[in-house]
Amino acid sequence: MAVTTEQLAEEMYQMVKETMGKKNLKAGDLTKAMIAKYGEGEINKDDCKHAIRILMDSGRCVYSYFGGSFITLPHKEGSAPE
């Protein structure tokens, strides 16, 4: 594997950070982006799954829900902003 799971997690984190407020990303979007970048022979879906798990378990990212589940940065708790 060309990259470590930790590196994948870091890259995913940067992607989430950059698109925050512009586009909501799903787990599948991050996975597709990483596989496109490193190539199918280098990393697979399971690697990406583990990377997402690292982001979640460390609290760096959280799941959000608006008619679908997205991965975002942690935010102030509360209802939908108004």
Binding site: K26, S79, A80
Partner: protein, 392 residues
């Protein structure tokens, strides 16, 4: 309690009558938690104004999970501060909804410590629903639940909590072990349940026979419905006994058979099992006399859903028959291919059934490596618009 005498003039009307009253239940839970007063207050207001007072979702949960908690907030937090937060927790039910009194007491004790004392037994998907708590209580409640051997169910774009009919536990018609299958699938896919990886929700429902007591064909993305391949088991003496007790075997059994595959000569019932479509009617009508055959298994069907977004769908046949002992392996193998395809091509909020409608069943079958068989359709296409492929 700030306002013990919260006025519930309209809701009080719903304490009258013979059917058990949910208003009485909320009032009973006042002892547990003062939030119930504000819940009653807000609900009374909804009854006056004919409009709900809950705000859109929001984002709360327990650490690391992407589902299992539904955020809920009052749109009148100043007026009803105790329900400013009123989140739901979904707790994964044991297969078949069986409990001991001790297990129920454990759940009640945990919920009294951390929430409103109100539940749904159960939610529509099958989970135990803990109705109403504050964000700060989520982690402590989750900790106590897991220590007691319970875990959260699903919400969002994940594998939703699977459910099963009572199956072999208390039904002679179960053609495979629905409760074990449900339990095993749920444990097999814990990651997919707790960390939403999909374009939208995905539901499994396990029914033991074509009566489909968990509405699998209407509600599950993968419907697993028990059936059999050999002949209906038949006890002629018991058939005669039903007739003697007044059942009109000709009209009410043979006459209602969808393929008219059975004959009654006044003494003996003759079934042409090759023409039987295994609908269950005759077996339902005479449970002592008839039973599903011995070569049992299940039909796998795919794609059911309620109307949102593109319209309601019933599941359609994917694999006509899988023997019971091959069911687990077949489902695991198929589902990984289905999920791979859906991950790759599914749009946000597109259920698997809608994806199949969009790309065509033929292409879907190609993608998951299944051969088309005529059991999948009610009739071949009746239009000539065929997408022929170059086949060298």
């Amino acid at each position: 309690m700030a306002d013990e005498k919260v006025q519930t003039k309209l809701l009080d009307e719903l304490e009258k009558g013979p059917w058990p009253s949910f208003v009485k239940e909320i009032k009973k839970a006042r002892k547990v938690s003062p939030v119930c007063d504000d819940l009653l207050g807000q609900l009374e207001l909804s009854y006056e104004e004919k409009v709900g007072h809950w705000k859109h979702g929001g984002i709360v949960g327990v650490m690391g999970y992407g589902g299992g908690v539904i955020g809920r907030y009052s749109d009148l937090p100043e007026k009803f501060p105790n329900v400013a937060h009123f989140h739901t927790m979904r707790i994964n039910q044991p297969s078949g909804w069986f409990y001991t009194s001790n297990a129920l007491r454990t759940l009640c004790d945990i919920w009294d410590r951390h929430g409103s004392g109100l539940t749904n037994m159960h939610g529509s998907t099958g989970d135990i629903v803990f109705l109403g708590t504050k964000t700060d209580e989520l982690e402590p409640c989750f900790k106590e639940l897991t220590e007691a051997g319970f875990d959260l169910g699903g919400s969002g774009s994940c594998m939703r909590t699977p459910s099963a009919c009572v199956g072999k536990a208390r039904c002679e018609w179960a053609c495979y072990d629905t409760m074990k299958m449900c339990n095993d699938i749920t444990h097999q896919y814990q990651d997919e349940l707790h960390r939403p990886p999909f374009p939208y929700k995905f539901k499994f429902k396990f029914s033991g026979c074509p009566n489909d007591c968990v509405a699998s064909i209407a509600r599950a993305d993968l419907s697993v419905i028990g059936t059999w391949k050999d002949d209906i088991q038949q006890n002629d003496a018991e058939v005669a006994a039903y007739a003697a007790k007044g059942l009109d075997v000709q009209d009410d059994v043979c006459g209602r058979c969808p393929t008219k595959c059975m004959k009654w000569d006044g003494k003996k019932l003759t079934i042409n099992n090759r023409e039987c479509v295994r609908c269950m009617h005759c077996i339902n009508a005479m449970p002592k006399a008839l039973a599903p055959g011995k070569e049992r298994g299940a039909t796998l069907l795919i794609g059911a859903k309620a109307p949102i977004v593109q319209g309601a769908l019933l599941s359609s046949v994917l694999v006509p028959f899988v023997p019971a002992d091959e069911l687990m392996d077949t489902i695991k193998e198929l589902i990984s291919r289905v999920w791979d395809f859906w991950d790759e091509y599914g749009k946000n909020r597109e259920r698997v059934g809608e994806l199949i409608q969009r790309v065509g069943m033929g292409n879907f079958l190609d993608a998951i490596g299944l051969d088309p068989v005529p059991e999948m359709i009610t009739a071949p296409r009746d239009n000539p618009y065929i997408y022929f492929k170059d086949e060298a």
